[in-house]
Symmetry: C2
Subunit: 418 residues, 2 copies
């Protein structure tokens, strides 16, 4: 079998463990006799379009191993969605041109739903054009919204960060509520699906423990019900901890964060959900509040990554390579759950065509009847995903993260502006 | 020497390590032949005024040891400042009454400047009233603003959280800036002193590394200078990471957070500094931004506590007990630095009268000329304080924190409403 090179790219919002998938891809590829070099796209798929290919063979074994404990997208990622083949055949053809110029026979695309869709189209186009290429998707998204995989690498670590932070901040609030803050509101990611917010529920050990209120995008927000719940919780427990998904919205579809506020100059105020709710609590109930918006901190928090998540991120990367090397294409590597307790899992595969553009939300059965908490089945599903710690190496008090040489491959083609 | 009981209280904003000080006090007291039981104030000094005393002798050795790894104030803390003796003799006298009723001969007050002031007054009043009591302060404040101690327990852990989070989030932004967020703004605590914001500077390894801009309360904010710095940084580096102290303010004293904004109903908008700056960046420079407000997460983050800080918090608690047991009063236990590199420290003492009401800010020599970074002397001072990790025990993916029985001592006195 002729030895051919591979192309790997990171796509969309980065995570604490997407580089662990990169390590899985590169280390597995180095062991495959049929795979030559792995070129990584500089800034994701843009790197392929611009023919900016990072030659990972120039990176030492130690550096690639260190990727496993490095957050963010080490090769650069991008938010760039290729349009449909009809609308933008030019870009797909450019991809094939670049692949041909660098003898790339394997394409590993590490991203969410859109990326799986792109990988699928490239696979089909290769067949149409008679250019042989094996395209395998590597799942990644903190939102945990891809179908056909038990979970999405990246999610478990955000989930752990959110559960740990909720437990810690709740202790803080509880210890001071007698004379200080009564309501604490933490905003977490999840524009369309409430998986991340739901993970905060893992902080709860016994009934009545914080978080007392979780607000999901899947449940229409109702001012009165929310305020009633906050008031009765403060009356009963002395304080109330709220975790809200950035995607929380009213029944008419308006996001809570879309408060229509303006600043002193009349400019629209781009508020977070947490401050919006805090203001509502203050106005309607008069309670002293604090709020936090973790934003990127949550998805970059490699220092508190879930070991399960790191292992799975690595495993789907390595499995994608094995699938491609065995001649398969048009698949996404997946995580398959074999049992909840003890938690056992393995890697599997799903057709890219069935993954693309399907969004998996929290099932209603995972959310309590009142809409403010998670159920026992949700706990069974979520708990194993945050299990285990996998601390990075520290030096002088700070985590030591991989730093790449990023040597670019010599360009063969004319410039191309995407 | 007659065996007498001790009273311990936690005061003001809690930290990731104030319970380590509690463990230091209780474990050291259990070894002192002159000290009977340690009673802890339920919700701080309010517990003494209301005669709500938690009998720590009812807690097991394992529970007290677990306090060392538990964030927040395990006995409850409060924001309650006793007025001057003249204005409120009633409350000071009540304290002495409660101490007398429970044969309390030792008072350990774990807090910031105000608490040290209270401890000092109680010490003086005891002498005036002929009630023998040894009063020793145990320093605590994330703001690091107490004088006469090299650092304040609680600060090192927030500093580590902020430095680690800055490094992680900056990697995230760097990897996506080509097509996404260009400016990331993280708001941290520190109403009057910029120590916490300054600690973010430790994330920087080489010149030009993030954070690119730190905004200190000690440096007057200047819109133009700030926007110029952000613009040139984005031009040069592709992105810009800003860390801002909640206390950042204009030359005229107005806090940046005090933006005078109103919501759709005309209510004043209580904004954070981070969203205010983000809005300014968007409006004036047009860059895509993200912002985070860590709020309580930063001071509760025991999972990423500094080992140095945990050790020092414990040490000042234990030292306070030894000082009192040796007959001293009117002192605060302190941290004394013996050398920067290798870092060596020991415990010491300072007169409470000299600690009270003195606020230690960042010296100008610790801030770079342009006002946006920290200098080499600042690094030498700060670096050792975040050194070492001291992970709590985890079970099923979550840290296991101490849970107290909190058995209250039988009341002897009539009720008292503070």
């Amino acid at each position: 079998m002729a030895r051919r090179n591979a192309f790997y790219a990171q796509s969309g919002g980065v995570t604490a463990v997407i580089n662990a998938s990169a390590a899985g891809v590169i280390e597995a590829a180095r062991k495959e006799p049929g795979i030559g070099k792995v070129f990584a796209g500089q800034n994701g798929i843009l790197g392929a379009l611009r023919e900016e290919l990072i030659d990972t063979s120039q990176e030492t074994k130690a550096t690639i191993a260190a990727l496993r404990q490095t957050p963010s997208g080490a090769f650069g990622s991008c938010r760039y969605k290729l349009k449909s083949l009809d609308e933008n055949a030019r870009e797909y053809e450019r991809l094939i041109d670049v692949f041909r110029a660098h003898d790339i026979g394997y394409f590993f695309y590490n991203g969410g739903g859109d990326s799986q869709d792109t990988a699928n189209k490239v696979s089909e186009l290769g067949a149409t054009l008679g250019y042989p290429i094996k395209c395998i998707g590597v799942p990644k998204t903190v939102d945990n919204d891809l179908p056909l995989t038990d979970t999405c690498p990246g999610f478990g670590s955000v989930a752990k960060y959110v559960a740990v932070s909720t437990r810690e901040a709740a202790l803080d609030v509880a210890s001071m509520c007698e004379t200080s803050t009564k309501v604490f509101i933490m905003e977490v990611m999840g524009r369309h699906a409430g998986w991340i917010a739901g993970a905060a529920g893992l902080a709860q050990e016994n009934r009545g423990d914080p978080p007392h209120v979780i607000l999901f995008p899947e449940v229409d927000f109702d001012d009165k019900k929310f305020l009633d719940k906050v008031r009765t919780t403060v009356e009963k427990r002395g304080y109330c901890v709220v975790v809200v998904s950035e995607g929380a919205k009213y029944a008419d579809g308006r996001f809570l964060a879309d408060a229509g506020t303006t600043d002193a100059f009349g400019h629209a105020q781009l508020g977070g959900v947490a401050p919006t709710l805090a203001e509502m609590v203050k106005r309607e109930l008069g309670f002293k509040y604090h709020w936090a918006v973790a934003d990127y901190l949550q998805r970059a928090a490699r220092h508190i990554a879930s070991k399960t998540d790191v292992d799975q991120a690595y495993a789907v990367g390595a499995h994608a390579v094995r699938l491609a090397a065995s001649g398969k294409t048009g698949l996404m590597a997946t995580i398959v759950r074999k049992s909840d307790s003890p938690y056992r899992w393995t890697v599997g595969e799903a057709p890219l065509g069935k993954v693309a553009n399907v969004e998996r939300k929290m099932p209603r059965s995972f959310i309590t009847k009142d809409g403010f908490g998670i159920t026992a089945p949700a706990r069974r599903y979520l708990a194993p995903l945050i299990a285990g710690e996998d601390y990075p190496r520290f030096r002088q008090g700070l985590p030591q993260y991989a730093s790449l040489k990023k040597v670019l491959v010599k360009k063969q083609l004319p410039a191309f502006e995407p």
